[in-house]
Amino acid sequence: MTGYRSLFLKVLSAVLVFGAWEIAGRIPVSYSFPTFLDTMSALVALTLDGTMLRAYAETLQPLAVGISISAVFGIGIGLWVGLSARFDWLFSPIFIVMQAAPLAALIPLLVMAYGVGLTSKVFVVCIMAMPVIVLNTGGAVRNTPSSLQEMGRSFLAREDQILLKVIIPAASPVIFSGLRLGISAGFIGAILAELKITPTGVGDIITYSRSIADYPSMYAAIFSIILFAVLFLNLVERLENVLFKGNDRGYVSD
């Protein structure tokens, strides 16, 4: 029952948002704001003539590489930061600075150092995605209830068992929320890189369509990347529920 109801609410909210978009486009609020239906037909056209497929083949390269690096190293460094106060002291400031840095202003520096190719774009994705993953993981590990760790030790857990069977499962909800935030930031980074470094992939469709005032195509590209990000984040949530079965069951509050 609740499954049907939540599906119904999702469909309803989608209808409301897209309906409002359609109306706003028809008024129109701005000459450069297309209606929902125009955008969708542009999306279908771009998909059918293969433009979209070629664009994603390019955009996905820095995105996949950057997000993989950020996830693996981000969680690894985060665990280390959470376990060792000295390492926390050494590394956390770097990621706090990375998170606060005005990335768009730093891109020329990256281009100067690494050129206009894939490397620079991967860097942009990592700079966007990694800090939140590292900081969330570190915080979650640090905040593992000490009584659970004590329980593990009193029942003769080795250090590695405490990490694998107590700390990581206890921290996993926050680690995954960091991962989700990091991945969405990585998507922003990938598009930002394509807009700011060299126009390729989805960023190229956005830049080119805007320059020829083909606004439906421009919004279709933006819409597609948002849709893709949402689907990917849902996949990550599925992964979490497979890996850590208890996480969707709520927590003992007292």
């Binding site: 004590e150 329980m151 009193s154 029942f155 003769l156 499962p169 079965k245 208890g246 709520g250 003992v252």
Partner: protein, 266 residues
């Protein structure tokens, strides 16, 4: 059970009368003196309560016995052997239950055995038996957040029993459950002490609870912590669980302990 058989055979050595002994234990946290030169014997097969006002170091002493804290000086002997960390001869029941919220009841109960590498089918068979013993049959696949406070502590107790340690360390185990559940727990604990051949060390701040369940009560006083008195309510032990609270000796001991503690309670 197989988790006992791979332990070294201790039958050849003479077994000391006291299962646990604390010898001149001191513990300092920086400048704060939590325990000073404390010595105490815990007779085998009996329940010893550590009773005292808050801040008297009773939980600190229990965690030192458990091997979770290191004493600043002095030593703990369990069966005549020096403690230098947690061991298979001791199991701990936590005040806040310390259950894994993501794990089912059966996995929580079997967790001690899981950490020791006991095979899944074997440890679940053992866990199932103790889940039944503590009265939670049918809740094997429930999760901690679905249980009441009392039931959660039963899971904690079953977990400690399932590793079959000779010494059970209980840190205010009933303080987070309601009064009625607590009374039931106390009666169950009397049966447990009588039926299981284990040594119990029980931290509490409730005078009535200590007198009701204990073979020996060590009264700890703060600043600096020391054992001020040892009381053995032997006269009321043989009587049934129902009549203890009406026994004159029970009431006398409760009054006597309160008289010596009241000046330390602010």
């Amino acid at each position: 059970m197989s988790q006992i058989s791979d332990r070294p055979d201790s039958a050849s050595k003479p077994v000391p009368e006291n299962a646990v002994a604390a010898r001149n234990v001191s513990k300092n946290y920086g400048d704060v003196e939590a325990l000073r030169d404390l010595s105490l014997d815990f007779p085998r097969g009996q329940l010893t309560s550590l009773l005292g006002p808050s801040g008297c170091g009773k939980t600190t002493l229990l965690k030192i016995i458990a091997g979770l804290l290191e004493p600043s000086s002095g030593e703990i002997l369990v069966n005549g052997e020096l403690v230098d960390g947690p061991g298979p001869d001791r199991a701990f029941v936590f005040q806040d239950f310390a259950l894994l919220p993501w794990a089912s009841v059966i996995r929580n109960v079997a967790f001690g055995l899981e950490l020791r590498g006991v095979a899944k089918s074997e440890r679940e068979a053992i866990a199932e038996r103790y889940i039944k013993d503590v009265g939670l049959a049918g809740f094997e696949n429930s999760f901690p957040h679905e249980l009441s406070g009392g039931m959660r502590q039963r899971v904690g107790l079953a977990r400690a029993l399932s590793v079959d340690a000779q010494v059970l360390l209980m840190d205010e185990p009933f303080s987070a459950v309601d009064e009625q559940t607590r009374r039931k727990f106390q009666e169950d604990l009397l049966n447990l002490v009588a039926n299981e051949n284990k040594t119990f060390i029980f931290v509490t701040h409730s005078i009535e609870e200590a007198v009701y369940v204990s073979d020996q009560i060590a009264i700890l006083l703060p600043r600096p912590s020391r054992v001020s008195e040892i009381i053995r309510p032997s006269g009321i032990r043989g009587k049934g669980a129902d009549s203890i609270r009406r026994d004159p000796e029970y009431l006398d001991i409760v009054d006597r302990i309160w008289a010596s503690l009241r000046s330390y309670v602010e």
